[in-house]
């Protein structure tokens, strides 16, 4: 019985131990820490308590990585078994819902804890650097650990309730935003560790190791786990049909929004991907709705500060820019992952490559579909910039060339990010977007320094040109490597 209770956990741990990605991820995280350490050392002369500043950076990185992991990694706990049609088989072996939930969530939790533990020796360097006490480090990790429990169980609940990992990820993200709003409204509901970390990471702090946040997060996390357990039988009774669902794409009702007839020639690929992976016009409407909700929430919270048209303009431009930037990076990333991953899963690439379309045409039109999917978010980004332009651009006296250089640099980074997502999507089942963000961060910190040296002469030509050339030197080789990797992987998939 004891063996049965930990059977799933043992299997997950074995798989994890055999996977090269586990170690690569840990090494990557340690690499980020080293760079953070380097950055702190570089800036040591600008202020005191370098250990504290180093640890602050580490904690912020951890918080960002764990939150992103919650959306991808934890949300797939049960839904991945449903997608692979193996949940029924697990149930047939006599495993109870509790054992399945414990096995699936504990293994993921342990993996995340492993990522935190691997940092410990480096984190303790903060004490040597000065400005930090070991007690502060322990208290910070406790706060982060409690948040991890909350996040893992929130994602686990949605992973039980819905059939698809993507749906679970979106719902977890939405629930996190909802909880953040709730916590802002009712400060006693301390679920997020930001305030706690802010308090702990102040010079001379010597409070208790645990706080209200620790217990609230653990309590709510446990409650969510119990809820997932109670709902397990009810929600997993029906097996999920194999293959991806149609999502929001209308069929008979709302005919005007249905995909209609395929576009001709090579653009048929863009038609397919845009309508069936990004939900076409319905997906665009969803983006508009999301930004509208973000505006409404921002308007509600900041209603007292909206004294003049200028205030309205500033606040809404910030909401437009922030929400659209997040939607572009996450939405386009998810789309870039899906357009290739789904072809591989459905094994449709050979059939597609036998049509009259060349590989370049197929990939080009897939990229077009990704861009089409981000058009509404880009429109809001443009609207946000237009709203702030009178105050910001005109005031700063930014020249056309500077603005252009900034945009070109952003586009170069964006292209590299999308290629990294596509590459990782062909290598891993879930979490390609997170890995790409992580890899982008690494590229920026590690390769960026060398690229800076390589493009140094360009800086003498002028600031904006230098930035553009630096971005190109940094991103183009990595993009080329990612593109070659994608090409190789797809070639193998066609012949497999």
């Amino acid at each position: 019985m004891k063996l049965r209770a930990v059977a799933l956990l043992t299997r997950a741990l074995r798989i994890e131990a055999r996977s090269g990605w586990t170690y690569l991820l840990r090494v990557g995280l340690v690499g980020v820490l080293m760079l953070t350490l380097y950055a702190t050392w570089q800036g040591a002369s600008f202020g005191g308590a370098p250990g504290l500043r180093f640890f602050e950076l580490v904690m912020l990185t951890n918080l960002a990585i764990l939150t992103l992991a919650g959306l991808g990694f934890f949300a797939s706990a049960v839904s991945e078994e449903r997608e692979a049609q193996t949940l029924g088989l697990l149930r047939m072996t006599g495993l109870t819902p509790l054992v399945i939930l414990l096995g699936k969530s504990t293994s993921r939790l342990l993996k995340a804890v492993g990522l935190l533990l691997v940092q410990m020796p480096f984190a303790l360097l903060a004490v040597s650097l000065g400005g930090m006490m070991p007690r502060q480090i322990v208290a910070s990790y406790i706060a982060l650990g409690a948040y991890l429990v909350l996040l893992a169980n929130l994602a686990l609940l949605f992973s039980v309730v819905v059939r698809r990992t993507y749906q679970a990820s979106v719902l977890t993200g939405a629930a996190l935003i909802g909880l953040a709003i709730l916590c802002a409204q009712y400060p006693w509901l301390s679920l997020f560790p930001i305030e706690r970390l802010d308090a702990v990471l102040s010079v001379g702090w010597s409070g208790a190791l645990t706080s209200l946040q620790t217990w609230t997060s653990l309590g709510v996390g446990a409650g969510l786990f119990v809820l997932a357990w109670m709902l397990f039988d009810l929600c997993t009774r029906e097996a999920s049909p194999a293959g991806p669902g149609r999502g929001l794409v209308p069929r008979r009702r709302l005919r005007r929004l249905a995909p209609g007839r395929s576009w001709s020639g090579a653009s048929s690929v863009a038609w397919k991907d845009y309508h069936f992976y990004a939900s076409g016009p319905v997906g665009a409407f969803g983006v508009v709705l999301l930004i509208a909700v973000a505006c409404a929430i921002a308007g509600w919270f900041l209603r007292r500060d909206l004294d003049s048209w200028t205030d309205v303009r500033r606040i809404f431009s910030m909401v437009f820019i922030t929400a659209s930037a997040v939607l572009i990076w996450l939405g386009a990333g998810r789309m870039a992952a899906r357009v290739l991953q789904e072809e591989l899963r459905a094994r449709t690439l050979p059939a597609l490559s036998l049509t009259r379309l060349s590989f370049a045409q197929i990939l080009g039109n897939k990229a077009l579909a990704v861009l089409l999917a981000t058009v509404p978010a880009f429109a809001f980004l443009a609207a946000g910039i237009a709203l702030i332009a009178p105050d910001w651009l005109w005031g700063m006296d930014v020249g056309l060339w500077t603005a252009l250089s900034i945009w070109v640099s952003v586009l170069i980074h964006f292209s590299m990010y999308l290629l990294l997502v596509a590459y990782f999507a062909l290598r891993v089942r879930h979490g390609a977007v997170i890995l790409a963000l992580f890899a982008h961060m690494l590229v920026f910190h590690v390769w960026g320094l060398f690229a800076l040296m390589l493009s140094l002469p360009a800086f003498f030509l002028g600031g904006p040109t230098g930035v553009m050339l630096w971005s190109a030197t940094m991103c183009v080789p990595i993009s080329a490597l990612a593109a070659a990797g994608i090409r190789r992987r797809l070639g193998l998939a066609v012949a497999a």
Binding site: P241, W271, K272, A346, P350
Partner: protein
């Protein structure tokens, strides 16, 4: 390069094709021909190299050595010319499950460069041919495996290819579905298509195919006309089935006296005889004459050929290839 323009040459021609995956040799000097306008069966045990051969023919995999030609064009160097003329149906339903049947066919039609008007006509035709007209607006993920196989076949036919490469098309089909598939393939043959079909359902292939290639452990064991294969199998002995109106012991004794008798099986009712005689020693007339002379009343007489399954067992080695 249409089937009509290349009537003189074979539709598919493999010459010394070899392929290996790391240490495993999947194909070893494979040579065969598929005549234009014929149905050619491709049989072999699991792991024999059938799918690898089909993938090479479909231009999806480059052979390590040897050449393969489709209507005279090399599948490696002239794949762009080859692809419009082939329709490849893999042994799994390679379909977009979130689309409806019509959306899928429309998409592939567009990807093959067909105009809207042509697409409408072709989709209507292929849905009629595969008997899927009533399911055109159904989501593919909601269809059964057999239905998905039909959609796969419809997808392969959208661009009107001259050569169909079908890998286990009957897998997952119920008996009725298999019979209907065979009828569809016969109809496609009558339309001038060449069909290269891999299948494990040997009885149906024997009735359907004009020619056959038997592959085992990456090597061709036989390639030629189906009749030639079955006759070759019959060379040792000929089998005949005799049915009498009623049990008749003298007739039974007369058959036992036949020269070159190899085997005599009599069923429980003692009216049905399976007679196997050494080739060249007793012809059907002698068997009939012996029974009738003994006073037996024959109501049915037929020659029984050894089946493709027996030929398959004779030509292939037992066990799983390493």
């Amino acid at each position: 390069m249409t089937a009509n323009s290349s009537e003189n040459g074979p539709a598919l021609e493999a010459r010394g094709v070899s392929h290996w995956y790391k240490a495993h040799r999947a194909l070893d000097q494979v040579t065969f021909e598929v005549a234009t306008g014929s149905i050619h069966g491709f049989v072999g045990p699991n792991g024999a190299g059938k799918t690898t051969t089909l993938k090479i023919a479909a231009t999806l995999l480059r052979p390590r050595s040897g050449t393969m030609r489709v209507f005279g064009r090399d599948v490696v160097y002239e794949y762009r010319h080859v692809r419009p003329h082939i329709g490849f149906m893999p042994d799994y339903p390679a379909l977009y499950s979130q689309m409806t049947v019509f959306e899928l066919l429309d998409f592939f039609g567009a990807a093959y460069g067909l105009s809207l008007y042509v697409r409408d006509r072709v989709i209507k035709d292929v849905l009629a041919l595969t008997d899927m007209e009533g399911r055109r607006d159904d989501l593919i993920r909601t269809l059964s495996r057999g239905m998905q196989q039909r959609v796969s076949l419809a997808r392969v036919l959208v661009h009107d290819p001259d050569l169909l490469l079908l890998d286990e098309p009957a897998a997952g089909l119920d008996p009725r579905g298999r019979i209907e598939l065979m009828e569809v393939l016969k109809e496609l043959k009558s339309m001038g298509k060449t069909i290269f079909i891999s299948s494990h359902i040997l009885a149906e292939l024997a009735n359907l195919c004009d020619s056959v290639t038997i592959l085992d452990r990456g090597q061709v064991r036989f390639s030629g006309a189906m009749d030639e294969l079955l006759e070759q199998r019959d060379a040792a002995g000929a089998r005949h089935v005799v049915q009498l109106a009623q049990p008749h012991e003298p007739a039974e004794a007369a058959v036992r006296q036949l020269p070159g008798l190899l085997r005599l099986d009599i069923d429980e009712s003692r009216i049905r005889y399976l007679v196997e005689v050494r080739a060249g020693e007793a012809d059907p007339n002698q068997i009939l004459a012996a029974i009738m002379k003994a006073g037996g009343q024959v109501v049915a007489f037929s020659a029984q050929r050894k089946g493709l399954d027996q030929a398959f067992l004779d030509l292939t080695e037992p066990g799983v290839p390493e």
